[in-house]
Structures are given as structure tokens and as C-alpha cells.
Amino acid sequence: MKILVCISKTPDTTSRIAFTDNNSRFDTDKVQFIINPYDEWYALVRAVELKEATGAEVTLIHVGPADGDAILRKALAIGGDRAVRVDADPADAYFVASQIAAFVRSDPHDLILTGKETIDYNGSQVGGMLAGLLDYPFVSLASRLDVAGNLVTLERDISGGKEILEVPLPVVVSCAKGMAEQRIPNMRGIMAARTKPLTVMTAHPADPLTRMVAFELPQTKQGVKLISPDQPEELVRLLHVEAKVI
């Protein structure tokens, strides 16, 4: 079995959120980039577990400029076998999905894993678009994934619960919390990652469908109104009369 894990790069979760160029672009000054947590903790770790259990081969793919190589090396240290970087600006989700689809057409993979969403732009789009372009079944927000032969068993989030599904390979799955536990790369992994293949590919022609043109920060709260701990009735009154939420 060949598993493809889609790896995106996001600002560290504690980054200061600020914009530049007349609020048209995220300000990357002093920002540390990390592997998108959904891709790292859930998609990648589950892929590595399946590799350990079944001998599957794990390929990583990232669409982005050269600074993504550091992200891919870390993902290799966690356990990927080889990495591919499509050297292009990830203009929008459709453009990214088109790049990954072009790669899969030239180098077929059976199980394609993405994260639930990138934590910067919160798109939740690339996985579904990729499945649409490849005409593979798509299971979103999976919290459990097992493979037996050609059949994948998945648990996925639905409103108020979980659904358990069986889907034959090939399939695209977006991974959410619960699928695996975060792993910290060890020294051996880090050393091994240095010599694993990382191939850079040129972009496949594709046009983005959308463009982010401006950013703003949300209005800040007025300031907290403090209520004395021995006056819970006052909080009830405020929630009813002033905030009108109960």
C-alpha cells in the first residue's frame, strides 16, 4: 500500500497575528512556521503507524516555496519515507489540490491523507477538492482509520456523534483529532531524515479560483464586567436583561 500525506505549513499557534502591505498579506516577520498540527499529529502519525504495522510506504507532499523543506525534513524524521515539494506559491486550495492531483496521476497512491484544515486560513478544502479532481471517494473529519486488505474502516464525526464506514481503496481522508497521538521525532529519526529523498517538482499549470484580498482584526471586547462571586443572581440578570442570551 502506498500512502500519501499532504503536509502544509502554518504559523506556530502562539504567533502574533498581524498584517502588512496595507492589510493585504499576513506579516511573517518573527513568525515561526510549523507543520500544520492536523497533518502532523493525526494524518502523518497514523500513516507511520500503518507503515509499522503493514509495511506500507509513506510519501509526503507539500506545495510551497523552498522554506517548506525544513517542514518536510521534520515530517521525514517522524517517519515518512520520501518527500516531494511542488515548488509554487500555494495560491488557493484549488491550486494546491490541482498540484497534488497531478502528482497522484503520475505516481498513484492508494490512501491519501490530509488534515481537517490548516489552522491559519481554516479552509477545510484541499482534501475534498483533491478527491473531486481524482474522482476518489472522500471521507471527511475521520477520527479513526484502519486498513485490512483493500478495505478501509473509518469513523467520522457527524452532528451529535460518529458514523462508522467501510470504503475500498483508493480514498482521500481528512484527519481529525482521535486518529493518533502526537509523536516527538527522536535522534535516530532526525539523522535518518537527512538522507531520505526530497524531490522538488515544478508546478502543473492550474488557475486559482479565489484570492484573499484583505485582512482585518476582529473588534476587541469592551472589557469584562466583573460580578461578585456571592451574587450569581446578578450574573443571571445581566445574561437575561443585558446580553439577552438566556
Binding site: 481554516n122 477545510s124 478544502q125 482534501g127 467520522r156 467501510e166 460580578i227 462571586p229 440578570r237 442570551v245
Partner: protein, 330 residues
């Protein structure tokens, strides 16, 4: 030309996300001199409830009653919605960003090469060919304006962002045949685990959430009682789910569920930036924490500095009296 709204029932009943999407779609249609249609792919919804979509602005509801739509297979849904969109010459497709909506939107976008905005929080700004719409990014820490340049546009509306407006009217319900069949579905459902009797967190209007300040899982009774009087769902911070004090479905934040209830009550949660990312879209935030320096107070509307073990039961008692009509305000 028209606006097509995908309405998704839950257990055979149309609920708030469907009404939100419908009234959003019909307001969009009115602004652009178009008709608003709905498409429903669930045979179990009675015709009478579909007619009610007229009160939210639908002129006509296309209803495909094929059994192939159960269980949900996003590819099958995307192909059927596409067929409906083509039948009514839709220029804009609206859906709600529910669990299924997250799968349907991007597939539809790829099938139709139509630009998609997930998690729209507002009506679009249109000016000639320019079509721009706002959405939350960075887990609600910022808002982005997205421009969509394609002829057909897809809007996946953030639940709870735009209130449904109910008026008068009855929609016509028309049987629609998208042509999809059982053999198109590639997945098989083998089980469903519903957390019954509790309010679903993602749709909840009120959420009571607790963190490490609760000391241990045995103390969650008071949190559940507070949630019960309020008809609220329960949630928790990540470390609490990580150590299995609470089920991981309850974990909210940057790496958990992002929610936007009308009221979010946080008990014994410090308010780390990653936690706030999932909850700061809430309309009103109440923080109960014994540490006056807890960062959460900066993001709160109301706060009580005090020991949760005393404050929460007292608040529950006060709410019980309020709910029983024993409290009057002037």
C-alpha cells in the same frame, strides 16, 4: 439564473442550519434579482416541512427522494447538487458548514470549477464583476476578505453567523431526479454512535465548558448540572481531553472543534490562545476562574473571580430559580 440552497436535515427534520442557509440564500437572490431555490436529498423529510422553506424565501424546493443518498457519500451528494444547480442555472450555491457541508463544498467546487468560501460570516459585497465575502481565519483571530472570480460561486456559511429571518410564504415542492443511483455510492455504513439525550456541541446555542481547574473527572457533575439547567452542551479544554477526563469530542480550540454559540461559559480554563481560537466567535463569553490574572478575562464579557466549586453550584441554583420564574428583574 438563480441562487440554489442545499438544505440538510438532521434525522429527517429541517433545523436551524437549513433555515439560516435558506434565508441567507434568498436575501442574496433578492439583492441580485434572482430566484431562490432549495435542493433536498433526504427522502424522509415530509413535503409539508419542505413547503415551509417558503417562509425563509424559497420559491421552489427540488426534492430528490432516491435512496442512494443514505448513508452520506460526499461524491454522490456533490454530483446531485451539481445536477440541481445546472437545472436551475444557479450562479450561487449556498450550504451550511456542517460536518457534511465540509465534505460537500470542496467536492462541488472541484466538480464545477466554482470558487468556494468556507465559513462565510457575512453577506457578500458585490460591485459589477467583483464578488467579495468575509470569513474567519486564524481560528477567529482575524477576518479575511475573499474574492471569488468564477462564474459560479459556492458559499459554505458558518453556522450561527447570520440569523435566519422567517416571513410568510409556502414553497412549491417539485420532485427532482438527479440520476444518481445506489451503485454510485462507494461507502457502506456499518454503525452509528450517537451521543443521545445531550445537546450536540457543534449546534448548541449555549455551551458550558471546563478545564484543568476542575481538578479531576469526578467533579464534572456540577458542570453537567449547570449545562442541564441551561439546555447547554458541554465542552472542555484540550489537556482535559488528553488525559481522558472527558471524551475528545468535547475538546474545543485551535486543534479541536471551533464553535460559535450565543453564550460560552468557561469554568477553570486559563484562556490560552489556542483555546480562545476555537471559542472567540461566541457572542457572549462568561469566565469563572479563581485567578484574577487568568488571560481568559481579557476575552470575556462577564467574569466571576472565585472558586468554581462554590460559584458553579450557586449559579446553577440561581438559574433554577430564574427558569422556574421565581426571579423578577426591573
Amino acid at each position: 439564473m438563480s441562487v440554489l440552497v442545499f438544505v440538510e436535515p438532521a434525522d429527517g427534520v429541517l433545523r436551524k442550519p437549513a433555515f439560516e442557509a435558506m434565508s441567507y440564500g434568498s436575501r442574496l437572490a433578492a439583492a441580485q434579482n434572482m430566484q431562490a431555490y432549495a435542493v433536498c436529498l433526504d427522502e424522509s423529510v415530509p413535503e409539508d416541512s419542505l413547503k415551509q422553506l417558503g417562509a425563509y424565501g424559497a420559491v421552489k424546493v427540488l426534492h430528490d427522494r432516491s435512496a442512494c443518498f443514505r448513508p452520506f457519500d460526499a461524491q454522490v451528494f456533490a454530483r446531485a447538487v451539481r445536477a440541481a444547480a445546472e437545472a436551475v442555472q444557479a450562479r450561487i450555491i449556498v450550504l451550511s458548514l456542517t460536518y457534511n457541508g465540509r465534505a460537500l463544498g470542496p467536492l462541488l467546487s472541484a466538480h464545477m470549477q466554482a470558487g468556494l468560501v468556507t465559513g462565510a460570516i457575512d453577506f457578500p459585497e458585490t460591485n459589477g464583476e467583483v464578488f467579495r465575502i468575509r470569513k474567519n481565519v486564524f481560528g477567529g483571530k482575524a477576518i479575511a476578505t475573499v474574492e471569488v472570480a468564477t462564474a459560479v460561486k459556492i458559499i459554505a456559511l458558518m453556522p450561527n453567523a447570520v440569523a435566519p429571518v422567517r416571513g410568510e410564504g409556502v414553497a412549491e415542492v417539485e420532485t427532482f431526479t438527479s440520476g444518481l443511483q445506489e451503485s454510485d455510492r462507494r461507502m457502506r455504513l456499518t454503525g452509528v454512535n450517537k451521543v443521545s439525550g445531550k445537546v450536540a456541541l457543534s449546534d448548541a446555542e449555549i455551551v458550558v465548558s471546563a478545564g484543568r481547574g476542575m481538578k479531576g473527572p469526578e467533579n464534572w457533575g456540577m458542570i453537567e448540572e449547570l449545562a442541564e439547567v441551561l439546555g447547554a452542551a458541554t465542552a472542555c479544554s484540550r489537556p482535559v481531553a488528553d488525559v481522558h477526563w472527558r471524551p475528545h469530542e468535547e475538546h474545543v480550540g485551535q486543534t479541536g472543534l471551533a464553535i460559535r454559540p450565543n453564550l460560552y461559559i468557561a469554568v477553570g480554563i486559563s484562556g490560552a490562545i489556542q483555546h480562545l481560537a476555537g471559542v472567540n466567535g461566541s457572542k457572549v463569553i462568561v469566565v469563572i476562574n479563581k485567578d484574577p490574572e487568568a488571560p481568559f478575562f481579557k476575552a470575556a464579557d462577564y467574569g466571576i473571580v472565585g472558586d468554581a466549586f462554590e460559584v458553579v453550584p450557586a449559579l446553577t441554583r440561581a438559574l433554577r430559580r430564574f427558569k422556574a420564574g421565581e426571579m423578577t428583574f426591573n
